[in-house]
Symmetry: C2
Subunit: 419 residues, 2 copies
Amino acid sequence: MNLEKYISKIVMRAQKASRSLALTPTVEKNKALNLMARALLAQEKFLIRENQKDVDAARLNGYPMALIDRLTLNTKRVQAMADGLQDTARLKDPAGEVLKTFTRPNGLVIKKVRAPMGVVGIIYESRPNVTNDCIGLCLKSGNAVILRGGKEAICSNRAIFKVLQAALHKTKISPEAVQLIEVVDRRALDILLHQDKYVDLIVPRGGEGLIRFVVEHSYIPVVKHYKGVCHTYVSVNADIAMARKVCFNAKVQRPGVCNAMETLLVHEKVAKKFLPLMLADLTKAGVEIRGCAKTRQIMGLQVKKAIEKDWSEEYLDLILAVKVVKNTQEAIDHINSYGTKHSDAIITRNKLEAEHFLESVDSACVYVNASTRFTDGYEFGFGAEIGISTDKLHARGPMALEELTTYKYLIFGNGQVRS
Amino acid sequence: MNLEKYISKIVMRAQKASRSLALTPTVEKNKALNLMARALLAQEKFLIRENQKDVDAARLNGYPMALIDRLTLNTKRVQAMADGLQDTARLKDPAGEVLKTFTRPNGLVIKKVRAPMGVVGIIYESRPNVTNDCIGLCLKSGNAVILRGGKEAICSNRAIFKVLQAALHKTKISPEAVQLIEVVDRRALDILLHQDKYVDLIVPRGGEGLIRFVVEHSYIPVVKHYKGVCHTYVSVNADIAMARKVCFNAKVQRPGVCNAMETLLVHEKVAKKFLPLMLADLTKAGVEIRGCAKTRQIMGLQVKKAIEKDWSEEYLDLILAVKVVKNTQEAIDHINSYGTKHSDAIITRNKLEAEHFLESVDSACVYVNASTRFTDGYEFGFGAEIGISTDKLHARGPMALEELTTYKYLIFGNGQVRS
């Protein structure tokens, strides 16, 4: 196959379809989402059968259990995909919203309105539900979507895609508004990433290697989610009981996700009182502690020694790095140096200290007296999530429908000319 | 010189300075801007003397007059730079603005607030005033700035930079918040573009070659301004007198800028009446016409024939491509295919037709019954402009202070944990 021609056809079709999709009324988009949801449920057996091929291949290849779990579809997960599409149908359509209207002295009326982005490319790995969720969110926000999933999930992705695209035939939306790249060769990805004339946004979802590849090769703007090395800082002004509860939740409730705490920072004046209680809670829950020298002074040498690498490690596991700091400024500097601009928290009863922390920590979400686990499109009330951006451009933090739009200026005159 | 070390020092210093600049009160930033303005005026002779070296070298190298004009500093231009800084001091500080506040059912209060981007890199060519203007806008919006101008202007840029940085020594702002890359080697640029750990945004300003180089080599998010191939479409429903006035302004008032009209589209049913009048106006003003077959049928073969290349040409000169179209949809399709998503206009008295055009044309600024020449930060009332984005991500159309900021979420809890 000529890869260039293959990708070129896909992006040109997507762009063409995006033009009419952008003009499609909300009610028609919602109809499509609901038809798609029904089609998924009707084709459940087909989806699970096709998925089984991927699962069998993954087992044969000795892939880790965690990957096989992410890959697997079952009745519950197909239902969840269908529910997701119906939920998306119920969300407010962001396109067309008037963000601002202003009138200039010469009488020009300028409206800043939300508009679909155009064509969005999603690059992801082994979760087949991403195929479904991204098609739903992109359609609802008026964007054509090009999907490029991992090779481990190719049969599942093809099946989901086939079912959803078929549903579009029963609507006024062009089925070409959704495109699947079925070639898993990285060269195909590289060619896609150079199509800045046709594709408006690339969202990579997956491991650091994939995201790095996308960032280094893309001519198209990328909104990315690097890892989440999230911190909680327990100030000398903290409510100790609250700190124990919040830190425990941030580490233990779901350690495998990006908004879980990876490093605990503790003010030296509260460390002797707080750390024995906190680390006992955590150890009981099976958390391995890696402490700085001061932590080990307080807790004894049975606490494993943290090395430099631990401060920037995203464990995604029941492991926690612990550091005692001299003051709030040291905590802020540590977070800004080793963190990933994702989510960080302070536990304090002091308002001024909280404000300084909020202003100084350069992260998408900065918390006072709450668990970092709340960084999430659903928990923020956005009703959906396509990713969590650790970028500063375009979208920061949880990305949902609004973040899949751009804006344009509409200018209404009555013959104004510039002098 | 070890270029890697040189750039690495610059970006790390800028990042460090950006942290404290982000916390600097507006009044201190304004003081700095006013001191800088005074310093420019006080050092006018020095600035013009240093600039003369660049101008002499440009003459010796036989650079075109247009470039030498852009390069030249004189009393009026130094005054304009100083005025620009004082104007920027008077603008509203965008950082800290609360964009949204919402409370979640669990009591978490989430504030979305505007925050400085961090470190902004500006890559530009021969205009030395860019050095001044970008330092002013970045400082005001709380961003450290790294400047990399063209080799033709290196003496001028060094001089302006020296004067402005010296003024910072009289303020609480770190002089390291402004950085100038004095090595004009493209390898230095390439190294800078890989510093995504330290630099948050790259804005390239200049010719297509430079912008393309930046887009293809940058790991840092880029907001760019490609060329402006702007259209005006005269509908069958146009007020002919208004159309003549607006089109004339869009082409002739300042042909060398990106928001000037490059292609005129005319509905076939109005072409016979409109084109002879319009093209007579334009020809009288010295405009060369390049017409499609139908235009030449109407106007005679003395009108030069437009070739395919003309439809995507940014002339920046007194040249105009003219095409007769069958209907509004053909005009829209032409603009979306050949345009550069910058500024396009329709002249019509029909509201529905205007709305369809506004929705369908995929450009940053879409006009009804006004000249495309209004796409400009000052004309939009932003009080400043760092460029006009033809990108869809982050910022679209005129970019000023707000567009140099990002946002962050501040989340206030009282011990909330996720269940």
